[in-house]
């Protein structure tokens, strides 16, 4: 492997090989972690300042939709992991179906999110609305955090769907195969990361009330 890396031509990522690509992805996920970390920091500070307001505000969250979305996202991580195993065993067709399933579940997650947001906005629950400005300060901060954190998370889901879509095409064309699947594996890492963030968002906004 090392020999091949050294003499690799200059185009593309051929310099690095498998391990290098994994290194790069893990480093990238560290930056993502810290990016979300800033938001979790804000959440903890405001939760400790306005514990009672957070309690009241969180009562409005719909635990059913939240739980359904959690199950959907965890299942989609499962199909993602299976799709990588399928490619490693040489079954590109199965892998493509599993990736399509992951994308479908990501979309269902977003649709649920859309109804959740839409319902709240319809009832005037959003930052700076006349309704929220009349309530306690902590309640509005709770919903500001809710929209920003789930919003940025949803943005990551959308990006993930796009990337998995690209991987799906590469898997069907055979560019991803049992000999070269690091792109798919890195996509999987990204998708699991997005899933993990939700696993923390779910209790913070829906369960701990």
């Amino acid at each position: 492997m090392a020999e091949k890396e050294m003499t690799g031509s200059k185009d593309g990522e051929k310099h690095t090989g498998y391990t290098g690509a994994k290194f790069g992805m893990w480093f990238f996920l560290m930056t993502e972690l810290i990016f979300f970390g800033g938001l979790f920091l804000l959440y903890s500070v405001y939760r400790s300042t306005y514990a009672a307001d957070f309690h009241i505000a969180a009562l409005d969250e719909n635990i059913v939709i939240g739980s359904v979305n959690t199950v959907i996202l965890i299942t989609s991580s499962f199909t993602m992991a299976l799709s990588i195993s399928a490619v490693r065993k040489g079954d590109n067709r199965l892998s493509a179906w599993l990736q399509a399933g992951t994308i479908a579940m990501g979309c269902v997650f977003l649709v649920n999110k859309y109804f959740e947001w839409g319902d709240k906005i319809g009832r005037g629950i959003y930052p700076n609305s006349t309704l929220m400005m009349q309530k306690k300060k902590g309640e509005m901060l709770f919903y500001s955090l809710y929209y920003v954190m789930t919003g940025i998370h949803a943005l990551h889901v959308i990006i993930g769907i796009g990337v998995i879509g690209a991987m799906l095409l590469l898997t069907r064309s055979g560019a991803i195969n049992s000999g070269s699947f690091v792109k798919l594996e890195n996509t999987g890492l990204y998708w699991h990361f997005v899933d993990m963030v939700w696993i923390y968002l779910f209790p913070l906004f829906y369960l701990v009330t």
Binding site: F27, T31, I34, G38
Partner: protein
């Protein structure tokens, strides 16, 4: 000739450069852009000084706020932070460790495009919306949320620049882990590579904090979230914390690679192995890690518990220790060396002097009690410029003179370089040392006007800015002449022993015909 300037690819002209994934081409393009932004920033700096000898004659009060803000944003986000890693780091890291390119050449090109895009967005903010922003480069909330000037766009530009910085750091770390030539053990790496490694981690782990913070400022301005707005229950201090959690480590993004360059230049011109190689290498890692824990010292007067202030003060003193170690090791390298006082060494020696002044004054203000007196005065401005401009700026020029023959294949004239250095160095000290005195006597920073007792100091400082500008003009005139008409440079004009000097000047397309096998450390002189 098979130099990297001759490209056999399908594209011609500008596209052949913009689409190139060659780390050397990307480094050269970064260098050109950085020098452009540095010139704009320096010009704005001269304008700031010009206003201060006669407030109101040249610049109106509100425009003065915009002037120092744009000066700060251009210098910090477009020049100093990308600075050395993006230009010299890109060009020399693969050469230093015996690789053909960085680990992810296409991501490297992407980060160059992001840098350009970020720069364009930042500059656009000057002309659209409410016009140039007036918040100071720190974008402190709640003012940055209230002002009508175009904060959103400028901040979005900085957000994009952050991505560029993260990707460069990610690339360099992976490159150093994965692409070292056979036999290039960690302890045989040139120290410049070590500092880029430490810098890469800071870029990677600190930058996302400012990304999310600036994103929140934008969202706050559009949707009124209230995170940093006290009237909605938010806390502006949180903005300051989040801002400095990045922006203090960012100081080490700026200065660590600068220290790496000094560690390259000093042994070559003292003809001696670096004194205490491992100490110099590990102290870079120490600075990078302790540098994370000191951000609170920017906020001693903003409202923090006494415990927090004491802890932050302690860590600030602590981070000076590895920096001091480096200074002693450079001096130890010079001791009994056969010193050749060429232009690169002159710049490197002035780095050691100016950085020491900057570092020692930093210790003075990191003591909580004195900080209360000095906070937000010209003292801070002086300290900051000694560390950043005297540190990173002089090191950048040391690198430019040291590597100019390798990058462009031509030699510059030594005499004008030395004269330029002298004028620049004198101008620098006249300009910024007067600020220490002004600040100690109570002149606040960012003020447009001042009582008459500060006039003499302000005048001396402004004269210094002219001398400094003259020095810069001499230096760059000399280099531009050399670029077009200089005699051809030999492969190894300084007798350097690191790998970049073993290849032709300018280096061939894939750096090495055969990847070298490394059997010795980086600094070996006869």
């Amino acid at each position: 000739m098979n130099t990297f300037y001759a490209d056999p690819g399908p594209r011609r002209g500008l596209a052949a450069w913009m689409m190139s994934t060659d780390h050397k081409r990307i480094g050269i393009m970064y260098l050109a852009a950085l020098l452009l932004f540095f010139s704009i920033g320096a010009l704005l700096g001269v304008l700031i000084r010009l206003n201060l000898i006669s407030p109101g004659t040249f610049v109106q009060a509100h425009n003065y706020n915009r002037l120092f803000t744009i000066h700060g944003i251009i210098m910090i986000f477009l020049f100093i932070i990308p600075g050395i890693p993006a230009s010299f780091g890109n060009f020399f890291l693969p050469l230093h460790i015996g690789a053909r390119d960085v680990a992810f050449p296409r991501i490297n090109r992407l980060s160059w495009w992001l840098y350009l895009a970020g720069a364009v967005v930042v500059l656009e903010s000057l002309f659209f919306g409410g016009g140039p922003l007036d918040t100071g480069w720190t974008f402190y909330a709640p003012y940055s949320i209230q002002t009508r000037t175009n904060v959103s766009m400028a901040v979005f530009g900085v957000f994009i620049l952050g991505f560029s910085s993260i990707l460069t750091g990610l690339n360099f770390i992976t490159t150093i882990h994965r692409l070292r030539a056979p036999g290039m053990t960690w302890h045989r790496m040139p120290l410049f590579a070590w500092t880029l490694y430490a810098t890469g981690w800071v870029q990677l782990l600190a930058t996302p904090t400012i990304a999310i913070t600036l994103l929140l400022v934008i969202l706050e301005r559009f949707f009124g979230l209230g995170f940093f707005d006290p009237s909605k229950g938010g806390d502006p201090l949180l903005f300051e914390h989040l801002f400095w959690i990045y922006s203090h480590p960012a100081v080490y993004i700026m200065v660590l690679p600068a220290m790496g360059i000094i560690s390259e230049v000093v042994p070559v011109f003292a003809r001696k192995v670096i004194f205490g190689y491992r100490v110099v290498a590990y102290s870079a890692l120490a600075i990078a890690s302790v540098g994370y824990l000191v951000w609170g010292h920017h906020m001693f007067t903003s409202g923090m518990s006494d415990t927090a202030r004491v802890v932050f003060s302690f860590f600030t003193f602590l981070v000076a220790v590895p920096s001091g170690m480096k200074v002693f090791n450079w001096l130890g390298t010079l001791y009994k060396g056969s010193i050749r006082l060429d232009a690169p060494l002159l710049f490197a020696l002035s780095f050691i002097f100016l950085f020491s002044v900057g570092g020692l004054t930093g210790l003075i203000q990191s003591a909580v009690a004195t900080n209360l007196h000095l906070h937000s005065t010209y003292w801070i401005v002086a300290h900051f410029h000694y560390v950043m401009f005297g540190g990173m700026g002089f090191s950048f020029l040391a690198a430019l003179h040291y590597w100019f023959p390798k990058m462009f294949g031509r030699m510059y004239r030594e005499r004008p370089a030395k004269i330029g250095w002298l004028v620049f160095f004198l101008g620098f000290n006249i300009l910024y040392f007067s600020m220490f005195i002004l600040g100690y006597n109570g002149m606040p920073r960012r003020y447009y006007d001042y009582p008459p007792q500060y006039f003499t100091g302000q005048l001396v400082s402004t004269i210094g800015s002219w001398v400094l500008a003259a020095g810069l003009i001499i230096i760059f005139r000399n280099l531009i002449v050399a670029f077009y008409r200089g005699p051809k440079a030999p492969d190894n004009p300084w007798g350097g022993s690191t790998l970049e000097w073993q290849v032709p000047s300018p280096p061939p397309r894939e750096n090495f015909e055969e990847i070298p096998v490394i059997t010795r450390g980086p600094y070996l002189f006869e």
